[in-house]
Amino acid sequence: MLEYRHVSVSCRRTPILKDVSLSFPTGKITTLIGPNGCGKTTLLQCLNGMSTVTSGKILLDGVDYLKLSPRERAQRLSFLPQVRTLIPSLPVKTLVEHGRFPYLGFSRKKTKSDADLVQAAMDFTNVNRYALQPVDTLSGGTRQRVFFAMTLAQDCNIIVLDEPTTYLDLESQRNFLDMLKELRRQGKTIILTLHDLNHAFRISDHIAVMKGSEILHFETPDQCLKSDIIEKVFHVKWKRFEDQDGAYYFFE
């Protein structure tokens, strides 16, 4: 289990994250929601070293996560950052193979199991047929799947995704969320941020609502809707519809 204990982050004395305590349950999907600039990305970036924790602790299965070496962290937790501005002109397969970087020894030699995991990640995200194509020639949706494949090739039990569906069309978004559900079925812990509240409520086991550098609420989607936290934070009204595929949420 990944656990934040009284984590604060400040940048030039401006607090960006204030005393966040939160546990992410194992094998579940937890989504962070909140208005722009509320600290969602910062909260996640404590995990890949792009934000420096000023006080507090992060525990992973009882071990102090921040004391692990970057390599050890990357073997336990994979992280896909927000929308990419740097699109490499590398072949898809080469990029996905970068996901094995945390495991490579000094000789940097790939083993059979590395190759298998890369292949599995490419099959799972359905990018196999682009294997030799440079990433910068692909459409936005495919690119995102390729980067996701790289993240999966890291073969970690915890997968962190920062706004993975931004800029994707509706079908790609749905496919992406289906992949997340499948990963949960395989027992992975998934932590992500989303702006689409309907999606957040449909796929998550737990929702963390953030505002003004703090976690306001951490509950299951149903509990979250029953309290009036959504109205307060997002200034919207919501409605719930249901059919055989589950519930749909509308926010206006």
Binding site: Q45, N48, G49, M50, S69, P70, R71, E72, R73, A74, Q75, S78, F79, L80, P81, R84, T85, L86, I87, P88, S89, L90, P91, T94, L95, H98, G99, F101, P102, L104, F106, R108, L132, P134, D136, F147, T151, Q154
Partner: protein, 337 residues
């Protein structure tokens, strides 16, 4: 853009580059103000005949010159690949961002301080290169400057150090250096003993950089991804800058400010191989070596008995090529765009 991504055509291109390098090295020994016949050269090299005229010429003039050119090409081309990767800027190279000038200034400075002690020169050259590249990098990183700003800053740094070099020459007219050929880069007057230290350093740095090639690739994905993949980003950057500085500095210490190799050669290799540093580094080394050797050869042969420094020919070829890159709008863009 034609890229050979499959292994077979890649192997062919690498083979071709190796042959090109062998050919240009041999041609470098063969031709010059006095041309030797191939049979003569092979006989002298194999028999170890060092007392004939040809033997002395080969041993004291031609071989040092070829070795010097070879390592100058390897050093500058690889330094170019690394700097372009670390700064993620397709216009970066030892000479466009001022690393060469910084190193050259340090060389002149060392010669002024220790006129009798030539062995300190490579260390000063490396120090100058490293401090300059660190400075430019911090400028790029902290200032979040645009890609072209870095090049402009590089030009400023270059002219600053060039002024410094001229000043040293004026202050200390005794200094044993031909400023004109040093500023443009030249391979004349090299000896095996003076080459030993710089060439060993370049070779060592080259092999170390091959070990870091994959890290260089990952750095190109952006700091956040590199960090997520468990890389110590600042440390890796620093090590790569260190290696690039060793290579560029060592070249400057004996060949002066050879321009444009560090820019052109990586570009050509990128066209051939894409951005994978694991191929880019060795191929740039091969092509860089050949390019310097051929330029030097042309300078010796075209206007014989006069000799044009290699650097002049390089600038004649490199200048238009740089303009071509700018006009193609490739310039100023990220290498991964």
């Amino acid at each position: 853009m034609v890229q050979c991504t499959n292994t077979k055509s890649r192997r062919n291109v690498i083979l071709f580059l190796c042959l090109l390098l062998l050919f240009s090295s041999f041609a470098g020994i063969l031709f010059g103000s006095v041309s030797l016949s191939p049979a003569e050269v092979i006989r002298t090299l194999l028999a170890g005949d060092i007392h004939s005229t040809a033997g002395i010429l080969i041993r004291t003039v031609r071989i040092p010159r070829v070795l010097g050119g070879l390592f100058a090409g390897i050093g500058l081309a690889c330094a170019g690949v690394i700097l372009q990767g670390v700064m993620n800027n397709s216009l970066a190279s030892p000479n466009t961002i001022g690393v060469n000038s910084g190193s050259g200034f340090a060389v002149m400075f060392a010669m002024m301080l220790f006129p009798a002690n030539a062995s300190v020169v490579p260390f000063f050259a490396f120090g100058g290169a490293f401090l300059t590249s660190l400075f430019v990098f911090l400028l790029a990183y902290l200032g979040d400057s645009s890609r072209t700003t870095i090049i402009l800053a590089g030009i400023t740094i270059s002219s600053f150090f060039n002024a410094g070099m001229n000043a040293i020459k004026l202050i200390d007219s005794e200094i044993s250096i031909n400023l004109t050929s040093f500023m443009v880069g030249s391979l004349s007057g090299l000896t095996l003993t003076s080459l030993l230290l710089p060439c060993c350093c370049i070779l060592a740095a080259f092999f170390l950089s091959l070990l870091l090639a994959r890290s260089l690739n990952i750095l190109g994905l952006g700091d956040d991804i590199a960090g997520s993949l468990g890389m110590r980003v600042p440390l890796t950057r620093l090590m790569l800058l260190l290696l690039a500085s060793i290579m560029a500095g060592c070249v400057v210490s004996y060949a002066g400010l050879l321009s444009f190799i560090g820019l052109i050669v990586p570009h050509i290799c990128r066209q051939l191989f894409g951005n994978d540093a694991r191929f880019l580094l060795p191929c740039s080394a091969l092509l860089g070596g050949s390019f310097v050797l051929l330029c030097d050869l042309a300078g010796r042969v075209l206007f014989a008995p006069f000799e044009l420094p290699a650097g002049i020919l390089m600038a004649f070829i490199g200048g238009p090529f740089f303009l071509y890159l700018l006009l193609k709008k490739k310039g100023g863009r990220r290498i991964h765009a």
